[in-house]
């Protein structure tokens, strides 16, 4: 009970900070919007090729802004020297990880939902009940993304080249998440084969469970102040 409360306090602090400034939220949302627009220029707008590629475009637009947010989550603490304070307080490192993970996850899901709305409009899909499946994919994929991403963000937070280093470390590892999310979205929007969609959801869940557990255990080793 105490742990859950501590996790929530840690996560709520980050979310409140973001809610008050809305700095990262607006920047990352705008960045994602730009990616959606750039792809319209890269392909022929309204062509079948672009429609076929739409799921890939959506997840590309979610991926890159996500990395920015992950980098920020430890950067602010470093700059203000507040990480030191948290580490000095009687909180286990694994709870600190959980709190950071929760904040990143909530942030990403919130921003992803907004981007999906923009995506449906730009790509001329329709708002219908089956989008609930995309919501599920977003919840699961951003959980895996935040689990590995929060761990790696903590790892690179002290390195000068962290902005480029984080995606270099993160993207190869989350290849299964990207594949499952893109293909799951393809099943929802274009192909409608529920048995494959279920398979991708299973893969996402397995990835989440494995890497949440691993990150929870090894987080202790990556922060030393």
């Amino acid at each position: 009970m105490r742990s859950l409360k501590l996790i929530w306090i840690l996560a709520e602090k980050d979310l409140r900070l973001e809610y008050r400034s809305r700095q990262a939220f607006l920047t990352t949302f705008f960045f994602a919007l730009l990616i959606l627009v750039v792809f319209q220029f890269a392909f022929d707008p309204g062509s079948t090729a672009l429609r076929e590629a739409a799921p890939g475009v959506l997840w590309t637009a979610l991926l890159f802004p996500g990395v920015i947010q992950l980098n920020r989550s430890f950067q602010l603490e470093k700059e203000e020297g507040t990480l030191h304070g948290i580490l000095l307080s009687p909180v286990e490192r694994s709870l600190l990880f959980s709190g950071k993970f929760l904040a990143n996850w909530v942030f990403l899901v919130a921003i992803d939902l907004l981007i999906v709305v923009a995506f449906v409009i730009f790509f001329n899909f329709s708002f219908e009940a089956k989008l609930a499946w995309i919501l599920l994919l977003i919840l699961l994929a951003s959980a895996g993304f935040s689990a590995v991403g929060t761990l790696f963000a903590a790892m690179v937070s002290g390195i000068r080249t962290r902005e480029v280093l984080l995606p270099i470390l993160l993207f190869p590892i989350i290849v299964p998440t990207i594949l499952a999310a893109v293909n799951g979205t393809q099943e929802v929007l274009l192909r409608h084969q529920p048995q494959f969609l279920v398979r991708w959801i299973q893969l996402l869940s397995a990835f989440d469970i494995i890497f949440l557990a691993v990150a929870f255990i090894v987080f202790d080793y990556v922060l030393d102040e």
Binding site: V148, L151, F152, M155, V156, G158, I159, R160, T161, L165, I168, L169, F171, P172, I173, V175, P176, L179, A180, N183, F196, R199, W200, L203, A206, F207, I210, F211, V214, V218, Y221, V222, D224
Partner: protein, 243 residues
């Protein structure tokens, strides 16, 4: 505040250099035998022709690439448990050699795939794509290594990434296989029925490459260790020179 001292390992590294010295003649014989086996002893494949002979080197490298990356993860676990810098040297050496083998696997596979599958890069084959992701993961590992100054923090972070990278391999494999089975599979897995002489050639090529890996690992680990010793001596001199 390093708990371990690289100089303590110097006698041990002398022994490795000695062992790798003994391994070298053995390695020469094995490699020549593997070349003989692949190019002269093994029969010409009826359908694929001469290009099939690349398979012996391809498979020998593939096996050792997995062995090397497994060693990175294992050394990572051992480092986190013992906090002994020695295991970081092993992990670094093994990752470097593993990437060389992975590059050989990708290059030989590509050279083979062009005449046989009529494509340089068959994205449809899950093995190729998994190997590419593996290659990316361990190149990222080396980039992480090079962006951190030597010290306990670097060893810890690299150990963690090495472990996570290896845990990711089966999941990557599964996801890519599912991805490709949904699309039409153009390429069926080849092999299966190898002629006995081909099996013999393979049975020489794989151990030859494994001895190559072990020799390189000994030499490379010793080299990393000596770099560590040089670093420590350098620090000691700097500290003593301070007024």
């Amino acid at each position: 505040m390093s708990s371990t001292n690289n100089q303590d390992f110097l006698p041990r590294s002398q022994k490795w250099l000695q062992i790798s010295g003994w391994l070298l003649p053995f390695l020469y014989v094995l490699i020549v035998a593997a070349l003989y086996g692949a190019f002269l002893y093994a029969p010409r494949e009826r359908v694929m022709g001469e290009v099939q002979r690349i398979f012996y080197f391809h498979l020998g490298s593939a096996w050792n690439c997995f062995l090397a990356f497994f060693a990175v993860a294992l050394a990572g676990v051992l480092y986190l448990v013992t906090r002994n810098e020695f295991w970081d040297h092993v992990a670094a050496a093994s990752a470097e050699i593993g990437i060389v083998f992975a590059t050989i696997v990708l290059a030989t596979g590509s050279i083979w795939a062009r005449p046989i599958w009529n494509t340089w890069w068959p994205w449809g084959d899950p093995r190729v794509t998994t190997m590419l992701v593996l290659w990316l993961i361990y190149v990222a590992y080396l980039i992480l290594r090079s962006s951190l100054p030597d010290g306990e923090k670097k060893f810890k972070l690299c150990a963690v990434f090495g472990i996570i990278g290896f845990l990711d391999v089966p999941i990557v494999w599964m996801s890519i296989r599912w991805w490709r089975t949904i699309h039409p599979v153009v390429i069926a897995s080849s092999g299966g029925g190898l002629a006995p002489k081909m099996v013999h050639a393979l049975m020489i090529a794989v151990p030859a490459f494994t001895v190559l890996y072990l020799t390189a690992l000994l030499l490379r680990t010793a080299m990393h260790l000596h770099q560590g010793v040089a670093r420590e001596l350098n620090q000691a001199v700097l500290e003593r020179g301070r007024p």
